[in-house]
């Protein structure tokens, strides 16, 4: 039964990477947003495979539920202009595409050279209880500060898009 986990990993990794590539490559923005949601779902599966079930749950709740819907609203409220004059610098697109694989190969080679070959340890009993202990005991103050940050971001977003006629 030792091949099940690598098989699941390969399937989920393919979903994540294909979804990410579709976000970048699809010409229609709606397709990009939906494939971003697919990539987030695959990432939730990877979290669950790592034994972080609570994080996987939050991933589905926040990323797939909230952020994808918010991005879809952004797509809905903006209109794609017809392709105008290309204002990019010469070779800007080619330089972007060339830079990324080079750095990717460098990072992956470094990771494997540092021999992170060891298997991931999975603890029994799930991660909700240690996570709750950490967040609400050791990191209680940063947690409260994060909630203030969310409130500030919400007020800021409302203030930015509010029409100025009242």
């Amino acid at each position: 039964m030792d091949f099940i986990a690598p098989l699941i990993f390969v399937i989920l990794a393919a979903i994540v990477v294909a979804g990410g590539l579709a976000v970048v490559l699809l010409p229609r923005i709606t397709g990009s947003a939906l494939s971003m949601g697919l990539s987030f779902l695959g990432m939730a599966g990877l979290f669950a495979l790592l034994g972080a079930e609570t994080i996987a749950f939050f991933q589905v709740l926040i990323y797939v539920g909230a952020i994808t819907v918010l991005i879809l609203y952004g797509v809905m409220l903006t209109r794609v202009a017809p392709a105008g004059a290309d204002r990019r610098l010469f070779f800007q697109k080619q330089a972007g595409w060339a830079l990324v694989p080079l750095t990717f190969v460098g990072v992956v080679a470094t990771v494997f050279a540092l021999s992170f070959q060891s298997n991931v340890v999975q603890q029994p009993g799930g991660d909700l209880e240690p996570l709750a202990n950490a967040v609400f005991r050791d990191y209680a103050f940063p947690f409260e500060v994060a909630s203030v940050l969310l409130l500030a971001a919400m007020i800021g977003a409302i203030a930015l898009v509010k029409r100025g006629d009242d």
């Binding site: 990477v17 590539l21 976000v23 979290f47 926040i62 991005i71 409220l77 070959q117 603890q123 971001a153």
Partner: protein, 104 residues
């Protein structure tokens, strides 16, 4: 015991991160650029959780970091979309190359 090496998770994480980076560099639509930033944040989350599992500490510090990253990502996408919509109201385009009011 899970039989997937840590390096594989890091490889997927860096692949997704650099796909997002490529999107930020080559796409012109501001909403797509926001999506690519979200992909990069998510890739960083995967790396954090994977390293946290590797350490197998009693306190899952990596997962705590990921929770704070979720908060930051939610705030970022809300404010980012608000800025995009405000710019769109000012000048009806979301192509970042067309927003050049401050260009000399």
């Amino acid at each position: 015991m899970l039989s997937v090496p840590l390096g594989w998770f890091i490889a997927v994480s860096s692949a997704l991160f650099f796909i997002g980076a490529a999107g930020v560099l080559v796409r012109r639509n501001a909403v797509v650029i926001l999506m690519c930033v979200e992909l990069m944040l998510n890739a960083a989350n995967l790396a954090l959780v994977a390293f946290s599992r590797r350490l197998s500490d009693a306190t899952p510090r990596g997962s705590v970091f990921v929770i704070f990253t979720f908060v930051i990502a939610a705030a970022e996408v809300a404010v980012g979309l608000a800025i995009v919509l405000a710019a769109y109201r000012n000048q009806p385009t979301v192509e970042v190359d067309e927003i050049h009011e401050l260009k000399g």
